[in-house]
Assembly symmetry: C2
Homo-oligomer: 211 residues x 2
Amino acid sequence: MENRTFKDSIYNAIAGLTKAFSHANRLEILDLLANGEKTVEQIAVQTAITVANASQHLQLLKNARLVKSRREGNFIFYGINGRKAYAAWQALRDLALEAEPAVQVTLRQFRGDTFLKGVASPQNALLLDVRPPDEFAAGHLPNALSIPIEELPQRLAELPRQKTIIAYCRGPFCTLADEAVQLLKANGFDAVRLEETYLDHKLLNDEIWQN
Amino acid sequence: MENRTFKDSIYNAIAGLTKAFSHANRLEILDLLANGEKTVEQIAVQTAITVANASQHLQLLKNARLVKSRREGNFIFYGINGRKAYAAWQALRDLALEAEPAVQVTLRQFRGDTFLKGVASPQNALLLDVRPPDEFAAGHLPNALSIPIEELPQRLAELPRQKTIIAYCRGPFCTLADEAVQLLKANGFDAVRLEETYLDHKLLNDEIWQN
DNA sequence: AATCTAATCAAGTAATTGTTTGAATACTTG
DNA sequence: CAAGTATTCAAACAATTACTTGATTAGATT
């Protein structure tokens, strides 16, 4: 094989893979799926696109081997396909967080500075997971309390008023924890948001990636 | 700001960044620039595209902050912009090497199995850097001997016949070391190719990323 | 078997991205 | 300051990618 042919072939194949990452909806889908399996319609609703469109993005992600699917009854559940798929997305995300002004500006505009980076869990704090129950069940930060965001208004009594509440959800671009912090503050709690999700820590131990 | 607006804005901004990675020529350019600064024409020649086309890809990479440029006389030298830019490309590359069959097949077809993964430098071996002198000067593996590929035919006498020669160049998709191994074997040497380049190790120590 | 549901497919159009060509710009050197 | 060189720009065309719509498929339920 010619050197040029070899390089063209390799770099085109890799570019084909990276193209799977280069669409806003697909990145959002990866973030979603990293937190647990979802059906096509759930994904479509969460990302505010049509079902057909979501299906097409999922096909593309599946062809790129970034996600996998399994059928259960009438539903097809999609999930992220392995540790390296998330690691690559994470590397791109971190690069953008560090180097892309548009990302920094939008984040600051939306969230201000009232969030934690990293999980140096303070002494006098409670870690609160506000994702849906199935996502909590699929994996969560150690010692976190699970109260899905919809139930939070009714379950404020369960939270200690003398502790700082650290809320987290699906990662830096998920808004569930932002809503939680807003609600908690409005009710007199000391609340702050953690940007990372459990996956960003779990990557260190391989346990959840046994696929 | 609306939740949906926030997410659209963020994911679109990141997708804009990842699009910079989703073209074969741009990936090849990143590999090149990671090994040292190059002028537009050098890049065009190496990647077998026109100068105007290379310039446009470089503009795009520069807008995405993956590369930076500086003028020196008539020339503009482009170089990779920081550690995380290379780290993201590395994460994508590793994902492709592990999960993309097209990449694996092409690599095997071109190179067979006669290469090393990782640099567990054996005792009785000599590490040979066959890249151009300026790239060697910009950074290299410890204890490596520099003989640019063009000079290799005339300088075979400098190499020990009782040792295994481990040749490396710009990374897994560079063909310089393959040519070297071929030449060395044809001349009776025991030669093998290392796929990684010095950057893949240097990432561990931060020294070279002081930009 | 008929019906229902979730998901996918196919086709058409819209939008974006890539490449080529030739001209223009920015800087250097004589 | 004129001439030369490396790079960029601009415009036109080509190729790819994305989204919508409506129909179809695959499996579950009755």
